[in-house]
């Protein structure tokens, strides 16, 4: 090959790089292995991890261990879906486009709002996109964010708004929920949106009405950050009066996967559709009158209207959206609701049992979905370390989110945790603190 190309040695191809920048030591890599040796080596590495499968995690905080039917993975693993790149050409991707349309329809059904898109990146960036959208709709700069919004989501929002001139104020919390009177205090005629999350960062269910009322009075929009699984049970964003609903869709069909890929969803009123970012799939008919699906309203996208684009989003999470559609489709409204009810029942049972352990007390009053904060007699990090020695994954040390939350432990119990597992966990907690 060197002869064909007409050079003496490989190094001749690197002539353009200044010599003083060339590394003359070889890379510090181990010697090559046979396939068998390599396979054994990888097995050893894997064995040093405790997967979520062993003894079930009691850990949540934004990513949740729910049961995903095998059929979801089967369907999503089809090469037509798994390996296709940006498959939105209607001539060859009707299956994908129809699935995206179904997904959008399901998001609308669960949120109660009129239009949705073919997904955003994740819950955090979706929350930021909703704020950008509200700023464009209201033509105002500022935001009031509930103090019980996931800290990571708040950080992402701050990053998105950093050079925008937006003033971001936080409505403070009391007893785990946003203080109702704070919304009115902070909303001004310059406020584009209020942002409230429910279930919130502590798993508690918020009263969204004070936020909606404060926003309406000032001509601002309400962005509600929520969870699709919980919406099979709880009051919908539309019923609360929210204008835009966003959140993380991992809990319907996406595996934990060490943090991703996950799924951002958004839904809003039809009148706002032209300010909604991302890809939108719509139903239409072809030249012969047959039903078909296409990507539509592309004139909102920045490849057509760069200066006026309100977002720089340029792709989505198609595969995870497909998984969500299959998951929700398989479970149906009843199955989804049963899973959600399982979360409520299990979490409540766990909270009651843990409260019986000396030194443990649930921190906040009021209804919660899937997780709850507990004050622990020993530091949560130490408790988790002792539980890990028994092969168990304990709750989240909330001190990691904020110093003011030190000593609080966020325990998550999904529909997957059986009573025996919960009892075993509580017993282990008891023993760890003796």
């Amino acid at each position: 090959m060197l002869k064909v190309v007409g050079i003496g040695k490989i190094e001749d191809l690197l002539r353009e790089i200044p010599e003083d920048l060339l590394r003359d030591e070889s890379l510090d890599l181990p010697a090559p292995m046979s396939e068998f040796e390599l396979s054994s080596h990888m097995k050893d590495l894997a064995a040093s991890n405790t997967g979520a499968a062993k003894g079930g995690p009691f850990l949540g905080g934004g990513a949740y261990d729910h049961y995903i039917p095998s059929a979801v993975r089967q369907i999503v693993s089809r090469s037509e879906f798994l390996t296709a790149y940006t498959p939105y050409q209607p001539e060859v991707s009707q299956g994908t486009l129809q699935a995206a349309f179904e997904y959008q329809s399901m998001v609308c059904a669960l949120t109660g709002l009129e239009v949705s898109n073919a997904s955003l990146y994740d819950g955090a960036s979706a929350s930021a996109e909703a704020v950008l959208m509200a700023r464009a709709i209201a033509d105002r700069p500022d935001v009031v964010v509930g103090g019980t919004l996931q800290p990571a989501y708040k950080e992402v929002l701050d990053t998105y708004l950093k050079y925008s001139g937006a003033e971001v104020k936080e409505a403070s919390a009391a007893d785990g929920r946003v203080k109702p009177e704070d919304w009115k205090k902070l909303v001004t005629p310059r406020t584009a949106a209020v942002v409230i999350q429910s279930p919130n960062m502590f798993g508690l269910i918020e009263n969204v009405t004070p936020a909606v009322e404060a926003a309406k009075q000032a001509g601002a929009l309400t962005v509600m950050v929520c969870d699709l699984l919980s919406l099979s049970l709880l009051r919908s964003p539309a019923e609360w009066g929210a204008d835009i609903a966003v959140g993380e869709g991992q809990s319907v069909g996406s595996a934990l996967s060490f943090g991703g890929p996950y799924l951002g969803f958004i839904a809003t009123k039809r009148s706002f559709i032209r300010k909604m970012p991302g890809r939108i799939v719509a139903e239409t008919s072809d030249a012969d009158g047959r039903r078909g699906f296409v990507m539509t309203l592309q004139t909102r996208e920045q490849h057509i209207r760069r200066e006026r684009a309100t977002s720089n989003i340029c792709t989505n999470q198609g595969l995870n959206a497909l998984a969500a559609a299959v998951h929700i489709g398989l479970l149906g409204p009843r199955g989804l609701r049963r899973a959600a009810e399982g979360c409520v029942r299990n979490a409540r049972y766990a909270a009651e049992e843990i409260s019986k352990v000396p030194g443990f007390k649930t921190e906040f009053d009021g209804p919660f979905f899937r997780e709850f904060a507990v004050r622990t007699p020993i530091p949560p990090a130490e408790l988790n370390r002792r539980l890990a020695e028994r092969g168990m994954l304990g709750g989240l040390d909330l001190g990691r989110w904020d110093d003011s939350l030190g000593g609080l432990w966020l325990v998550c119990v999904t529909e997957k945790r059986r009573k025996a597992e919960i009892d075993e966990f509580v017993q282990a907690v008891r023993e760890c603190c003796e």
């Binding site: 032209r274 004139t299 057509i304 209207r305 006026r308």
Partner: protein, 129 residues
Amino acid sequence: MIPKELRYTKEHEWVKVEGDTATVGITDYAQGELGDIVYIELPEPGSALEQMKSFGLIEAVKTEADLYSPLSGEVTERNDAVVGDPGVINSSPYEDGWLIKMKVGNPKETEGLLTAEQYAEHIGNGAAS
């Protein structure tokens, strides 16, 4: 089609001046170039207008464009029928497809507008929209 009694901008808006009021729309050439118009964003009555500044947005299937005000002044009326059915702009750009009516702020500005002949030359010269 380029009605002689109207005045035009290089950006393909037409204006019909009647005393101190005027009516504004887009030309037949513009609607032809855009193709099927699917959406239009127009200002509310009372909004201020500045000559050659954007006062709205017109959207066709594959593209969208700004609407530029031929004159400075104030919006007195918006054609809500056209907002509800933008296709009227394609079928009747000079009559039913009018966009806004306005109060003329500075009558001298009409001198800067193109006549029908000048506009014809402008688009005849292969003027890209």
